[in-house]
């Protein structure tokens, strides 16, 4: 059964007809064409699908599109400035925190949420903030360094 849903994604209002059981990730990727958000597990385990919902990090694979109604969704596309890169993107690039890059959008969203609530996190706090994001390529060292660099650059 489909329902009309009003979604605000990256500041733009969308009206989409979706199945009530449809998750937010699938609507973002398949209906809105925002493919920067990835599916790694569909199981709330990997964080590749991380988006911000009113600023809070949420695994969009495990969140119904219906539940996002009336709330503000931010994806990696919305975080990227019109020209250039967000400081987090810049430090991940410089530190070598991107390999295959499949985890990267989710990592950026988690890190952004972390820095929003805690602009100068300790190493431990960064680890906790990113503990919901799996990366299979990097071993995390350069991701950790990149988030620390962003924080110290202010």
């Amino acid at each position: 059964m489909t329902e009309p849903v009003m979604l605000t994604v990256n500041g733009i209002d969308y009206r989409v007809n979706v199945d009530m059981g449809r998750n937010l990730l699938s609507v973002l990727r398949n209906e809105l064409g925002l493919t920067g958000t990835k599916e790694g597990c569909d199981d709330s385990e990997c964080g590749a699908c991380m988006v911000l919902l009113d600023g809070q990090p949420v695994n969009s694979c495990s969140y119904l599109a219906l539940q996002a109604q009336g709330r503000s969704v931010t994806t990696v596309e919305g975080l990227t400035p019109a020209d250039g890169l967000h400081p987090l993107q810049r430090s991940l690039l410089e530190q070598g925190g991107v390999q295959c890059g499949f985890c990267t959008p989710g990592i950026i969203m988690s890190a952004r949420a972390l820095l929003d609530r805690n602009p100068s996190p300790s190493e431990e706090e960064i680890r906790i903030g990113l503990s919901g994001n799996l990366c299979r390529c990097t071993g995390y060292a350069k991701i950790l360094a990149a988030v620390a660099q962003t924080a110290s650059d202010g």
């Binding site: 990835k38 790694g40 990997c46 390999q99 950026i108 071993g139």
Partner: protein, 741 residues
């Protein structure tokens, strides 16, 4: 006007030895990079696969009617619909595209469906009614060995077979089944070309071999199929074999529409091969001074239902069964069994990982039996250039800095000995189960060796084409970027060798260039890098010759310090060179496993420091230090990235990652139950790169992707043994192996 000297300084951002920003970094960071998952085409259908729920069964009947009755379904295909050979496989075409009379493993594809959207395709696949006669699966690999159900047997006999040492150490070891678990699952899109052919864009490590498999299995001609490199979320061996590739082409040709498939994570766990679980029996002989006199080993790897690369993995396991040590009396018997377990194949380390855990544990036990320092024992027996590989007798001709690796490792600083009481730093983490006073710390060392490139007489080559246009240099290749940074390093090589500051890498399909070979066996930097270097060098020489110059840079051709022809004029012409690079030829083994089997070798060592709660069996890996033989680090940041990522996978194998297979069925095909290391599990890593040029790779570079995982798992296991005194003869180490629960 900029002078020539300034220009030269200005372009050092991307030469060999630098770590320039990766060219695909920005699109990846912005979410714009196109992965196979993100591809679409007009009128695209979605595919889905129905898989066997049994490890072994006879297919009695298949009723497609319920699936065809689902609205929006365009095709429901079985083995009967597969034209051509109908089978595929990297070493032998033994695996059916779709199961015919029998299913031989849990998860084997039986039916494929194309429908208007993914949900419909999955629903329709589930609606197919298959009647099975369930058969007894063969799941015990030792039973398979006894029944001679095998893919390959290996026999290595070197030197006097009757030597007995003063000290003898026996051991039996097991390694569990690890999954590559790349973060992006299998995905792809096949687009029919309207003339009976098809363009395939799918997750791959080796598009030319995918092409070959599609062509042969579906009875097409070579020019009817083009396999295109596409963006992928990691690989680690999981994409060496085809999985959805043939299904996609079959469905696209059948429906005359583009067809896309994306595996769900649970399907991915059955959709690709895994690291072979291994059982290993060892006997080491040494004299009282610690000279290794003789090693005897039996190595069993279970290949599961179909061959994949089991023969080559088994061979590698056997060839490196002794490790990086001199020994002139060696017996190795190996078997790769055929069972009804999930098929196993390539994963980073490719056989060398399994035996490393065994030979390194043996070395520690031998040291204990001799009452000798384990590093002294290793140093005393360490292989060096000019020595023979203990198993094959092949003389090592390139630099092999094993002793430097050991010395560097020992010299690296140890972490603070105090055990932090922060819950995050304790075994068990924020579960707060461990008291700091209960924690015991252990330190373990392990050394590993592996071949670089393909072996045993395989004609291993890579082709690359370099063009020079007004836009700069372009390297064309079919080599797959899996995340390791190949697109960065090939451009660095082209810039350095050609002399221009702008270089980009362009992936082209199988119709446009010859094979680059597989992105595996740590080989692309050496092979595709070698081809890029050769093509660039030849192109530069031709341009210099054409314009009577002695130097080439962005401005054009120079002669004795004067610009003789500006770049704009040069690039009016068409400049391209194609080179095919081969590594030194290898031979097939003789009946005793002897020969020049490998093209080159790389070594590495790891020191792991762990904290263990011996009562609860919980482990935290505090730190892993490593020294690695890299030849020449063409891009140090990428090399470190490979090292840090490889070590993390080694830590995973040591303490948490295992596919639990019961009666042939994977019990944990999801990330809730198959545990991958998170950032909370990530140890501090310090890496020392040992650069000793002399290998045949470009600028002396050696492959770096696999050594980080070979001995890291063994080092962590050794550290747990040190902390607990428990035998630790299997990895992953489980709580019950530590705590005697």
């Amino acid at each position: 006007m900029t002078t020539r000297t300034e220009r030269r300084v200005g372009r050092t951002g991307g030469l060999i030895g630098d770590s320039p920003l990766r060219p695909d970094g920005i699109p990846k960071l912005k979410g714009e990079f196109e992965y196979a998952q993100d591809l679409t085409a007009a009128e695209m259908l979605w595919g889905a696969t129905l898989r066997s729920p049994y490890a072994h069964a006879r297919i009695v009947s298949i009723d497609l009617a319920p699936a065809l009755a689902v609205g929006g379904v365009h095709a429901v295909l079985t083995a009967d619909d597969v034209p051509g050979r109908g089978t595929f496989g990297l070493e032998q075409p033994d695996q059916p595209v779709l199961a015919g009379d029998y299913v031989n493993y849990w998860g084997e594809p039986v039916v494929v469906v194309a429908a208007e959207d993914q949900d419909t395709a999955r629903r329709a696949a589930a609606a197919v009614v298959v009647e099975y006669e369930v058969l007894e699966p063969l799941v015990d690999p030792e039973e398979a060995d006894r029944r001679d159900e095998t893919f390959r047997r290996m026999k290595i006999r070197r030197g006097d077979q009757d030597i007995t040492g003063d000290v003898i150490v026996d051991g039996y070891y097991e390694v569990g089944m690890q999954d590559q678990a790349p973060l992006g699952t299998e995905a792809g899109l096949a687009i029919p070309d309207g003339h009976g052919g098809v363009d395939l864009y799918a997750t791959s490590q080796f598009v030319h071999v995918d092409h070959e498999q599609v062509v042969a299995s579906l009875g097409l001609t070579s020019d009817q199929v083009r396999s295109h490199p596409t963006g992928i979320g990691g690989a680690f061996g999981a994409r060496e074999d085809v999985n959805l590739h043939i299904h996609l082409c079959l469905l696209a040709l059948h429906t005359s529409k583009p067809v896309k498939m994306v595996y769900h994570r649970s399907e991915s766990f059955t959709g690709h091969v895994h690291r072979h679980p291994a059982r290993m029996w060892y006997r080491h002989h040494a004299d009282m001074d610690g000279n290794l006199l003789r090693v005897e080993a039996k190595v069993l790897v279970d290949g599961g239902a179909y061959a994949s690369t089991t023969g080559a993995v088994l061979a590698n396991a056997c060839y490196f069964a002794v490790g990086p040590y001199r020994c002139d009396s060696v017996t190795v018997d190996g078997v790769g069994t055929r069972t009804n377990n999930p098929p196993c194949g390539a994963m980073r380390g490719f056989g060398a990982v399994q035996v490393c855990f065994a030979h390194e544990t043996q070395m520690d036990r031998l040291a204990a039996a001799l009452d000798m320092d384990s590093l002294d024992l290793r140093r005393r027996n360490a292989l060096a250039t000019g020595d023979a590989i203990p198993t094959t007798g092949q003389i090592i001709e390139t630099p092999l800095p094993m002793t430097e690796v050991i010395d560097s490792l020992v010299a690296m600083p140890m972490p603070d000995a105090t055990i932090s009481d922060s819950p995050l730093s304790l075994p068990g983490g924020t579960g707060l189960t461990t008291e700091p006073t209960d924690v015991s710390r252990g330190v373990g060392y392990a050394l590993g060796i592996k071949n670089l490139g393909f072996s045993e007489g395989f004609d291993d080559y890579a082709q690359a084409r370099v063009r020079l246009t007004a836009e700069g240099a372009t390297v064309e290749t079919a080599a797959i970027e899996v995340g390791q940074g190949l697109v960065t390093v090939l451009a660095q090589i082209a810039r350095s060798a050609l002399g221009v500051s702008r270089a980009t890498v362009r992936n082209v399909d199988t119709s446009m260039i010859d094979s680059a070979g597989s992105t595996s066996a740590s080989r692309q930097t050496q092979l595709s890098g070698g081809a890029t270097l050769e093509a660039s060098t030849r192109l530069r020489a031709r341009i210099l010759h054409a314009y009577n110059g002695d130097d080439l840079d962005d401005d054009g051709v120079w002669s004795e310090g004067r610009l003789v022809t500006p770049m704009a004029e040069i690039t009016e012409g068409s400049w391209e060179e194609t080179a095919t690079f081969r590594h030194p030829a290898t031979t097939e083994p003789d009946e005793n496993g002897q020969g020049v089997i490998h093209a080159d070798f790389a070594v590495a060592g790891h020191r792991a420091v762990v904290d263990v709660d011996p009562e609860l069996g919980l482990v935290r890996v505090v730190r892993v230090d490593t020294a690695q033989d890299v030849g020449k680090a063409l891009n140090p940041q990428s090399v470190r990235g490979q090292i840090e990522g490889g070590i993390m996978q080694g830590v995973g194998l040591a303490i948490m990652e295992e596919l639990i297979v019961e009666d042939g069925i994977i019990r944990n095909p999801n990330f809730t139950d198959y545990l991958l290391p998170t950032i909370l599990d990530a140890p501090e890593v310090e890496a020392l790169l040992i650069e000793k040029e002399g290998s045949w790779g470009p600028y002396g570079a050696k492959g770096v992707g696999e050594p980080p995982i070979i001995s890291s798992a063994a080092a962590v296991a050794a550290a747990i043994r040190d902390a607990t005194g428990r035998p630790i003869d299997r990895i992953p180490v489980r709580p019950q192996d530590i705590a005697l629960l």
